[in-house]
Symmetry: D4
Subunit: 218 residues, 8 copies
């Protein structure tokens, strides 16, 4: 096992300082590095999320923390496996299409593991407007709504115009050509004609779930 010192300076005080635990960004880390990190987390007993873990990385983490929960579609590992009892307001996560699901699930699970109640609504993009309108009652019950959309990224503008809660908008890289890997949706969301739209990075389900948990805190 590599020497942890040489590879990471874990922010173990984050939960005390900020109220939300550390998360380990797996992309770009070697299996050896993740092994050392996961072992240390197990040792100190610090609640942690591992994000963007590919299968080999997930296996390395699970080898050290066998009782962790792994959601392959969301590429997320949560340790301990069970989320804390929910507090604060309701979070609704809505997607424009089916292909936005991996990002939406990353947001949903992050919110739950940070202690919030969260529900999922799928494939209600603006090309068939009746679909989102059919969910208005649920949307109006939420303290914050996470809207996940690729391509034109138009759904957050429409949702924000219908409710009083803030909308966390997550552009996804779903699409092709002039979608430019999510840039089109990102720009749409930054220019939403309805106010109340908080934008996060393309495909950043983790960030969206975290931000929503903070907004919906009691």
């Amino acid at each position: 096992m590599v020497d942890l010192d040489q590879v990471a300076t874990l922010d173990l005080g984050r939960e005390a300082r900020r109220g939300y635990p550390e998360a380990v960004f797996c992309a770009g880390k070697s299996v050896d590095q993740l092994t050392a990190i996961a072992a240390e987390i197990g040792r100190v007993g610090q609640r942690t999320l591992f994000t963007r873990a590919d299968p080999a990385q997930a296996a390395a983490v699970l080898a050290q923390l066998p009782d962790a929960h792994h959601d392959a579609e969301a590429r997320l590992i949560a340790w301990p496996a069970d989320p804390p009892a929910p507090s604060g307001g309701l979070i609704v996560v809505a997607t424009a299409g089916t292909s936005d699901l991996p990002v939406a699930r990353e947001a949903l699970l992050t919110a739950r593991h940070l202690g919030r109640e969260a529900e999922l609504v799928v494939d209600v993009g603006v090309a068939g407007l009746h679909r989102i309108l059919a969910k208005l009652e649920l949307l109006r019950r939420a303290r914050v709504i996470v809207v996940v959309a690729g391509m034109d990224g138009a759904l957050p503008s429409v949702v924000a115009g219908l409710v009083s809660a803030p909308v966390v908008a997550v552009p996804t890289s779903v699409g092709y050509g002039a979608a430019f890997e999510g840039l089109a949706a990102l720009l749409t969301m930054l220019n939403a004609c309805a106010p109340g739209v908080a934008v996060v990075n393309i495909d950043n389900g983790y960030g969206a779930g975290h931000l929503a948990a903070q907004i919906a805190a009691a």
Copy 2:
């Protein structure tokens, strides 16, 4: 007066070849050049639109063609002043906001001067969805709908999802920051999640009106 030969090769056969008359793009042309061009157009008696004319350019054209119609907001001059009797289907031009009006009027007037009936709907953007839904009956009567929008450019996706007619989408440079002078709206429209959206250049009301006239031809 400058020698026309040295400044332009008018496409006087365009009406015969294509069914729609020549248009003169005024931007970047000097007052002397426009004087020579307008004089020639008057001489040969060729129906013509002058687009993107600033006040000095408009004055130069009107000096040669005093009976032309000038719409200052649309920066458009039509000669002769009266549009032909309308034929073909109805064109509806709708804008997301008030600030999109100059471009919308350029489209509206172009369509009328190319021989179509055209109507205008203003400020029905998706931030207040009830506004466009209140116009559904009119939209469904159109053979083609021109949708003009800046900022998030989300309106064409919503309209295209509600009707069977094609939508000509015109991004405008309305907005600021990450609107990037209309680029955000342009990308939104190119990635519209509803099919049936025909995109033209940013602020290109002339092109939208022309294309709509062709689509709505009898």
Copy 3:
């Protein structure tokens, strides 16, 4: 089989509302998700196109809808296999080069499955201008022309200058270097010096075929 509810909200009313059936965008959907969607479509008996299906996705759809038609080059699956009897005007699809064929075929087949007569002209780019000029008689018979081009994307400008029908321009990602995956052709088409050019997303043969079908509707 996954629970459909968890993965999609099919827009089964689209044909009634818009006159053209739903299409399923396969990119980014898992084989399990497509299996659930295709099974439901078979169950409700809704005419549907599946676009951008890779071989594994196509196999999943065909397992549920064995009598569907699959065009591997166009990555398109149509169910039912036979297009409706054609109505409306003629659509001509023309390509600048051979490498544009997959996108052109996606447009061609989409138009046919939405109920239009459509013909294909291949490899008539402007580097050898006599090739497109030799097709003028056919082009002038079309109600709308779809022009598919990569690299410089110059063909739509030339075609639009020769006919009275509208041109649907499809930039393709054919090319390299400063073609920037179709961006160069996209910008060319948005700036076409001849009016009457309707631009769709890069490589969007489906959208071009759909738009052309709407324009050529009776």
Copy 4:
């Protein structure tokens, strides 16, 4: 006075529907259009903000609503002049530099006019880290913090790492060269290495203040 119908479809139901009143985006609107809009707002007695008003536009609005409050630095007009009694949590607005002040004031005043208590901290960018650290106690009392920064846009990452409240990050166009009119700061904020950062458009003080008001709602 122009006919209002021809220039705007005011969203007068927004306060009922969303809990926050309409805002009129002045950029791109003519003095005549703003006159008609302000007159109507006075007539129906609807609480309204006018944003991005240049001096001539502000004069037109104030002519119709003489008792409105105008903040020239923020380019904001509020009518009625007095904000409602504050409710909900505290909002702190912090700027990296002096040049970010106009945008920060737009956020501050928007938040106050939407019913929140809000305080301003100026010129505490990361080049002199002791300045933001000296404000920690205040920052930790806030329900949400708006951080306004141009150039490198690094301040939101630092603030978000120190507190449990969400941070609304506003990139500004302050800077030159590779600041690309705020693009550099925007990208920094979207990639903040600390979670909990909600990004809005470049220079969008209005949107930041509105979002913060929603987050800090009781």
Copy 5:
């Protein structure tokens, strides 16, 4: 007068070394700096072109070199006023539109002042293809053709496909919106589907004329 040393290191050996004289790029130089430079050029008697001179800059140069030739449209000053007797092959400069004329004239005059015979053809863009085809005989007599075009920048592809001579393509900033100040035309030309296209910078008439003169050298 400022000390020349502090402002410029003239490349007076360029004509000996390269066969073509020095050119002074006026943009960004103060009137004082240009005065010092022009005075020195007059003193050493070195054939020189001054490019991109605005009216005040031109006046400063002409005050030192009163017998120079100034073309205001091309923003070019040539000293001495008379070009050398022409040698080498014929250069044809063709423009797509009228608005491309300032750049075209800069190329034309540069070529002549570097010792070539050069002719101008105006406004023969591809929207009316018959216009360029009517000039084929002249184009085929040229040793090199300079093609100047904005907007879609499609003309060089068409010309290069018709002749055996190389084509120097000059994108111009003519256009708006997605023309992106000449970027669209630049990319078109770099991706010309006909080989034999040499691209220079946007609006770089000087560079095009110089390159053409080198290509057409005896």
Copy 6:
């Protein structure tokens, strides 16, 4: 074998019309399509270059034209294998680095197969200026110099400042990070501070060789 008609409209008149034979761009063409094209070329006996052929594509072409010459590094196939006897002036192809060799060889072989004498100089970039200066005598003998460079793309500016011949500059995708796949080198070359630089597309060795052959024609 597929029907040629369905896949290509060969420009067999190009050699007669332009003096240089057709080239087939292999990228994006299927093995079946290339087989049909190569068979036809063999049948009509038309001199042809096949560019950007990957190994499978090359095998397909060579199966139809077994006596063709294939250069794997340049991804080029020439048929017939022997270039014509050279005429016109000398072409020198120089590279900044070793990694630019594939593109440089594509230019070199294209020039030779279009009938010119051509020589190669390798790895003489500006980081060690003595290397290019050591080749000055050869460079000054050339009628045209092709300079191939990635990364900073600075070599063409330096070469153009030293000789009277025109320089064809080929940016390559060699580099990483802010080289942006050749964009940095492309922009450098378009802004060369020495006149006489003709730019072609990134990695376009074929286009550079073709253009150089035209410039160096007798």
Copy 7:
């Protein structure tokens, strides 16, 4: 006079902490704000540079600090007027062209006011290579060389290849078209094929002078 508290938090400890005094970035600051800041600086007696001051801003600063030194070309104000006695190594500032002078002077003066000896070399760009080669002896005496260049930005690569000292490269916005306001030169410098090139922001003479002063510190 405005309350300083409301507009700035001066970093008066910077000289103690870092060894180099505070600089006030004037762009975007009002005359009132600068008046308050300059008054405070006079009051506390803190050595300060004011950068990017336009004439009105400069007047406001000089009204409070009448004995400051103002260099209008560099847009720089130094207070106190006299630089400290020089220590450390020699700094040479070299420009590619005359138009780069304002930025070069900003670097030169900043370096001197931070306590270094600095010399200026003007207009020695690579188009006439002999000019920079003539300065080799001086360049080799420098502890660090600041190279200021616009357009192709090629000079730093050449200089870095000739000396052992580090090169601070400053791209300028000199140029037009595809220079993209200094982006081309910036990318060139980031991709310099010679190691030892430290890049700063476009037109950032202040940053370059400061960095050079730190590198050349004793």
Copy 8:
């Protein structure tokens, strides 16, 4: 073995001329080319670094220079294996995260092989500010600090604001979405609000180490 002449012009005089030895950029070079180059380097006995070597390239080099040192994570090969005895000042290399390690190690090893003492600090990004503050004493001992960061790239601004030494900032491609492969971090660093930041190319650990070695030279 290929003929070296055909593939490279080694700059063997670089150590004499510049004081730092040649480095071979392996990316884009074939195994045969690297074999020829490494053999020649062994033959002439020239100290050399091989950068960006993938495993096959590394094997080829090591086959010729079996006593070289290979660091797989840094993709670096140093020959001879042992660095020279250190001289000059201390270099500290600090990373924002674990995923930045490969680039940081490339910088660290380069600096050591160019003759400097260098130390590594890992994972001290601004999201947990206490981590970098804990290293202040070490940072203040350094003659130059290399800061390696992806995502928001904020760490160099913070470090530069705390010390008097210059900071060499290396953006990395760590991140996703709007990190745009390191572009976000690059722009942040170019716009650092603290002066004293020298930027190199994205992922350019070699360049950073080289520049730091020059700055820290005795």
